[in-house]
C-alpha cells in the first residue's frame, strides 16, 4: 500500500507529503443496552491518503461516514486503532499532543459553540500562545492584533465577547485562533455550513487567500460538493468509514468513477432554474454502521451492483489517475 501511495499521483514523489494517512482505522466499542456485550463500531477503516504542502484535501461524505472521526485523529485527539498518520513524514503517535498542535489546528463548523462565551476575543485568540508559553503579555497582545488584521477583524473588537459578534466574525476569530500558532495544516470541519450564504463567500475567500499567503495545507471536511469543487486540489470520498475514491479534484469532478461519487455529484443542486430536480435512486439512507452490509458496503444502494459486490469486499486499488474501491474497476 505504501508503495502504491508513493508512486501515485504526485509528480515529485521525493517530496515528503505534509500529511499522510497509512491504512488508518479507528474502532469504537459500543455498548447497546445495560447488559449487552460491547460491539465494535468501525468508524474509520483502512484509509490511506496524502496531501502535499500548500494543497487542499477535501474529505467528503454524508453524516456518519467517519469524516469527523478522521478529523479528530488528524488533530491527535483520537488515536488510530490501526495504521498511522504522518505529519511531514513523522508518525503522529511519536510526538506529544503539544507538538502536534504546533503543526495541525482545527476550525470547526459552528462558530457559536467553538468560542467560549465567557472570554474576550483577545483571550480566545491568545489562548494557544498562553498554553504553549510563547511570548510576553505585550508581545502576545501585538500578535493577536496582527492576526485579527490578517483575518479581517476590526481592532475595536479585541475586548468584545463572542455574543457581540456576527456569525462571520466569530468564524474569523476561530480562524485567527487556529493560525496564531503558525500551523502547517488546518483541519476545517464544515467551516461554512452553519453560515449564511453571503458570509460563506467571505470565509471561503479568506481561507483561499490565507492558504496562498501562508502556504497552508487544508484538510477540508465538507458535504457541500460545490464548495469542495471550488477549493480542493484532492478529493477523498468516504462511505461508512471506508475510503472509496481518492484523486485529483479536477479528475473526480470531471469523471467520477465510483457509483457513490457519481450519486453525490448528481445531487448537487446548482442554482439553474432551467434544470429540474435530479433523479437519484439510492434508496434508503445509510445502513447501520454496527452491522454493515456484506461485501461492498455500498452494494445495497448501488445501481450498478453485481453478484460479486454482495459477496466480496473490494480492495482499494489504483486505477489510472486515482485510487478506487469498487468491483467495477480493475
Amino acid at each position: 500500500m505504501n508503495q502504491l501511495m508513493g508512486q501515485f499521483g504526485h509528480p515529485d514523489s521525493d517530496a515528503v507529503p505534509a500529511l499522510e494517512c497509512r491504512n488508518v482505522g479507528r474502532t469504537f466499542m459500543i455498548k447497546k443496552g445495560m447488559f449487552a456485550e460491547k460491539q465494535p463500531l468501525k468508524a474509520v477503516q483502512e484509509v490511506s491518503l496524502q496531501v502535499n504542502r500548500g494543497e487542499v484535501l477535501a474529505i467528503v461524505g454524508e453524516s456518519g461516514c467517519g469524516k469527523t472521526t478522521l478529523a479528530k485523529m488528524l488533530l491527535g485527539l483520537l488515536e488510530p486503532t490501526t495504521g498511522e498518520i504522518l505529519l511531514d513524514g513523522v508518525p503522529i503517535n511519536s510526538v506529544s499532543i503539544k507538538d502536534i498542535a504546533r503543526k495541525v489546528q482545527p476550525v470547526f463548523q459552528d462558530p457559536y459553540s467553538s468560542l467560549n462565551p465567557r472570554k474576550t476575543i483577545e483571550q480566545i485568540i491568545s489562548l494557544p500562545l498562553k498554553v504553549h508559553e510563547i511570548g510576553s503579555k505585550e508581545s502576545r497582545r501585538a500578535r493577536v492584533e496582527e492576526y485579527m488584521r490578517l483575518v479581517g477583524l476590526p481592532k475595536r473588537l479585541v475586548h468584545s465577547y463572542p455574543n457581540q459578534l456576527s456569525g462571520g466574525q466569530r468564524q474569523r476569530v476561530a480562524i485567527a485562533r487556529a493560525l496564531i500558532m503558525e500551523p502547517k495544516i488546518v483541519v476545517c470541519d464544515e467551516p461554512t455550513s452553519a453560515l449564511d450564504v453571503s458570509v460563506q463567500a467571505h470565509i471561503l475567500n479568506l481561507l483561499q487567500d490565507l492558504r496562498k499567503e501562508l502556504n497552508l495545507t487544508y484538510a477540508f471536511i465538507s458535504h457541500d460538493l460545490a464548495v469542495v469543487e471550488h477549493l480542493a486540489d484532492w478529493v477523498a470520498v468516504m462511505y461508512l468509514g471506508r475510503l472509496i475514491e481518492f484523486g485529483k479534484a479536477i479528475d473526480i469532478f470531471n469523471n467520477p468513477k465510483h457509483p457513490y461519487t457519481r450519486a453525490l455529484l448528481d445531487s448537487v443542486l446548482t442554482p439553474d432554474a432551467s434544470l429540474g430536480l435530479p433523479e437519484i435512486t439510492l434508496g434508503r439512507g445509510l445502513p447501520n454502521p454496527l452491522s454493515p452490509p456484506s461485501g461492498c458496503y455500498f452494494h445495497p444502494r448501488c445501481p450498478d451492483a453485481k453478484e460479486q459486490c454482495s459477496a466480496e469486499q473490494p480492495a482499494l486499488i489504483e486505477n489510472e489517475d486515482r485510487l478506487i474501491e469498487c468491483h467495477l474497476y480493475k
Binding site: 455529484l265 432554474a273 437519484i280
Partner: protein, 339 residues
C-alpha cells in the same frame, strides 16, 4: 382573487416587542399562492422568512403583533378567526413540514397513531379509513412495507424516512396549502434530492399550494415556480425562478447569486463574489432602503423615505431605486467582473 388562489396575503406586518424597542420582523409583505404552485421564499437568517410562515399558521410567539390588510386561505378570512377555528384548520387545510422532523413527530407515539390521529381529529373518518389513508400515503411517499413502518416509533427511522413520514402526515387531510420550512436542510445531500422530488411530485398530484422556505439557492432554482427574495423583513424581489435567477434586478439577489460557488460556472479557486457589511437589526424606526449599507449602487434616494415595490411585469417586481434598465446594466457589469 381567482378561484384557484389558495392563499392571499396583503400587507402583512409582524412586530415583536424586544427590550430595545419594537422589532419589525416582517414589513408590508404581500403574496399569493395558487393551486399546485410552488412559491419559494429565500433569504438569509433573520430576513423574516420563518416568521412569515408562522404568521400564516397563526403560530407566532405571544410577544409578536400581526397586522395585515388581508390574510385569506381559500377565501376564508384568517384574520377574524379564533384560535380554536385555526386549530381545526392546521393539519387539515394547511400542513407544515419543519426542518427537524424529530420536533414535529411525538417520540412516545407510534408513527401510525400519529398519522391516523390527524385524520380522525379533523373528522375525516374513523380509525379504519384513517389506517387505509395512512397506508396509501406511505406507499405514495415510497415507503416499502408501510404496515410495519406504521407500528414503529419515530426514533426507529432514519432522518430521510422521518421526513417522508412528515410529508405523508401533512397529506393525510388533503391540504390546500403546504408550508415547508427548510425541509431538507438537516438531510444528507443524496437524501435531499430524493425528498424534494417526492415533495414536488406529491404536491402536484394533490394539487396543493406549496410555500417552500429555504436559504439554499440551488433548491429554490430547481423547485420554485415563483420566487420571493426576502431581506430585512421585506420582499425585495419577486418573479418566476427563471426571471430571478437569469436576470436578477435587485442588487441583493445578484449578490446572493454571486456568493455561491457553482460547479461548471465558477472557476475553481477564483474569488467568490460577496456582500459586504452586516444585516441591519430591525429595531426602531426603519427608514430608507435596508440594503443601503451593503449596496454598491447607493444614491441619495436610498437613504430615506419608503422604497416601494416596482412592478416590471405581471408577477415580477423588485424593491430598488434603480430602474430595470439601470439595474440590468450595473448588475451585469458587476457580474462580469466577478464570474
Amino acid at each position: 382573487m381567482s378561484s384557484d388562489t389558495v392563499l392571499e396575503v396583503e400587507n402583512l406586518s409582524v412586530d415583536i416587542a424586544v427590550p430595545a424597542g419594537t422589532l419589525h420582523a416582517v414589513s408590508n409583505l404581500s403574496l399569493q399562492v395558487e393551486q399546485g404552485e410552488t412559491l419559494c421564499i429565500v433569504g438569509e437568517s433573520g430576513c423574516g422568512k420563518s416568521i412569515t410562515s408562522l404568521a400564516i399558521m397563526n403560530l407566532l410567539p405571544r410577544k409578536a403583533k400581526l397586522t395585515a390588510d388581508k390574510l385569506a386561505l381559500e377565501d376564508r378570512d384568517l384574520l377574524s378567526m379564533s384560535e380554536s377555528e385555526f386549530a381545526k384548520l392546521r393539519g387539515d387545510r394547511i400542513g407544515m413540514i419543519f426542518q427537524d422532523p424529530m420536533t414535529s413527530l411525538n417520540p412516545v407515539f407510534r408513527i401510525g397513531d400519529q398519522l391516523e390521529e390527524v385524520y380522525i381529529q379533523h373528522g375525516k373518518g374513523g380509525r379504519k379509513e384513517a389506517r387505509e389513508r395512512a397506508e396509501f400515503l406511505l406507499e405514495k411517499v415510497g415507503i416499502v412495507a408501510p404496515t410495519e413502518r406504521l407500528s414503529q416509533y419515530p426514533h426507529q427511522l432514519s432522518g430521510g424516512l422521518r421526513q417522508r413520514m412528515m410529508i405523508a402526515m401533512t397529506l393525510m387531510c388533503d391540504p390546500a396549502l403546504i408550508i415547508a420550512d427548510e425541509p431538507t436542510t438537516a438531510l444528507d445531500v443524496t437524501m435531499q434530492a430524493q425528498t424534494l422530488n417526492l415533495l414536488r411530485s406529491l404536491q402536484k398530484e394533490f394539487n396543493a399550494g406549496l410555500i417552500l422556505i429555504t436559504h439554499d439557492l440551488g433548491v429554490v432554482a430547481r423547485m420554485a415556480d415563483r420566487v420571493m427574495v426576502m431581506y430585512a423583513g421585506r420582499a425585495v424581489e419577486i418573479g418566476s425562478a427563471e426571471e430571478v435567477f437569469d436576470m436578477p434586478t435587485h442588487p441583493y439577489t445578484q449578490g446572493l447569486i454571486d456568493c455561491i460557488p457553482v460547479p461548471g460556472r465558477t472557476e475553481p479557486g477564483s474569488k467568490l463574489g460577496s456582500i459586504r457589511g452586516i444585516v441591519p437589526a430591525l429595531v426602531g424606526d426603519l427608514d430608507g432602503c435596508m440594503f443601503r449599507n451593503r449596496c454598491d449602487h447607493v444614491s441619495d434616494p436610498c437613504l430615506s423615505g419608503d422604497i416601494g415595490l416596482t412592478e416590471i411585469s405581471a408577477g415580477r417586481a423588485y424593491r430598488c431605486h434603480l430602474s430595470p434598465e439601470e439595474s440590468k446594466n450595473k448588475l451585469s457589469v458587476e457580474g462580469a467582473a466577478c464570474p
